[in-house]
Amino acid sequence: MKLSRSKTYKAISAALWQSNPISKQILGICSALAVTVQLQTAIVMGLALTLVVAFSNLIIALLRDLIPRNIRIIAEVAIIATLVILADELLKAFLFDISKQLSVFVGLIITNCIVMGRAETYAMSHGPYDSFVDGIANGVGYSSILIGVAFVRELLGSGKLLGFQVVPDVFYSAGYENMGLMVLAPGAFIAIGLFVWLEHTLLKD
């Protein structure tokens, strides 16, 4: 069987392109924008979310026959909240500085619609392996937008990438200035709007 025909491949490409959680389904923007001033925080946030979606999908898929239908939302929230607390404590233990910068936004993964949405629409009706792959794919799809926006904002807003200066000093002495707007909140909205425009135009076929 060719790679491009396999079910796993299809699930991954769908989550990355055709139905990317942020740009196509408009889910989970709450936390997407606030952490994109710097590339570093965006990457960590993307990683945390990917892990939470993947494992919540896995656990819910394993338990889906045991959870009574009436109380499934509460059960799902409990599982997701436990994973988010785990992610939060791990960040505090190993990446304390970044966890300070992310402040409340790690905790807000609980109310991120992507996690809940995947649990409800996918993990409740698919096997553990498929659900796990779906979780990873959606997490990566989410991270790709986050990292793209953060790349633009950090490059234009402070002339740096991952904290290293990339715009040479010659530019500054020649009169180049950082774009202050990109560091502020409106910059995030406008950057993501233009990003989505680009993606829609490229993927129109």
Partner: protein
């Protein structure tokens, strides 16, 4: 007098400069989903303001009587620190409060219930509500400050969604490039609105 000035400054800050939607990107999901119609946008805005004003102080009590380090001293357990349970308990309080508010409104004001009723369950997963509770802990507000902050955040969120709904009504007659239609233009309009709200950042009381 200084106390009152402090409260006014928190109120103005949470409505304008630190607008929970336009500066902290919280509550985006329902903001984008419900801003198509002015009537429903106003309804949801009122419901969010109402719930925020109640849940932020309720979570303040939960935090300071149960969760904060040393908070259990009244029960003879000064060593216990339950801070890691914060996310789960806050979500539970919010879900419970929304349910109670729904019952109370239904009992005492059926007219209001008919207007707000549909939106109340949606509010549980609105990240603005959980976000305000988490910010309230992070910024170490007192009880009165929390009440004012919760109310101000709600009013700010409502202002933003009502303004957005009116802009979108006008936008229907505009000639937007094809790839930018929908999500893309919504984000850019929100960005411009966020810029307008930032004008107030020069005000010092």
């Amino acid at each position: 007098m200084e106390h009152v000035e402090n409260l006014i400054s928190i109120l103005l800050n949470s409505v304008f400069v630190g607008n929970i939607l336009l500066a902290y990107f919280l509550g985006m999901c329902s903001f984008l989903a419900v801003s198509k119609n002015l009537r429903t946008a106003t309804g949801l805005g009122l419901a969010v303001t109402f719930v925020l004003t109640i849940t932020a102080p309720a979570n303040w009590l939960v935090y300071h009587l149960l969760l904060a380090p040393g908070a259990l001293a009244w029960a003879g357990l000064p060593e216990v620190n339950l801070n890691f349970l914060r996310l789960v308990l806050f979500i539970a309080v919010i879900a419970g409060m929304v349910q109670v508010v729904e019952l109370v409104i239904d009992r005492f004001s059926p007219a209001l219930y008919n207007n707000l009723g549909v939106f109340l369950p949606l509010i549980t997963v609105n990240c603005a509500i959980l976000g305000a509770s988490l910010f309230m802990v992070e910024r170490e507000y007192t009880f009165t400050e929390t009440v004012v902050y919760g109310f101000g955040s709600g009013v700010g969120w409502m202002l933003a969604i009502v303004a957005m709904a009116t802009v979108l009504q006008k936008l229907r007659y505009a000639d937007v490039p094809e790839g930018l239609q929908g999500f893309g233009i919504n984000m850019i309009v929100t960005g411009l609105m966020a810029m307008a709200f930032m004008i107030f950042s020069g005000i010092v009381l």
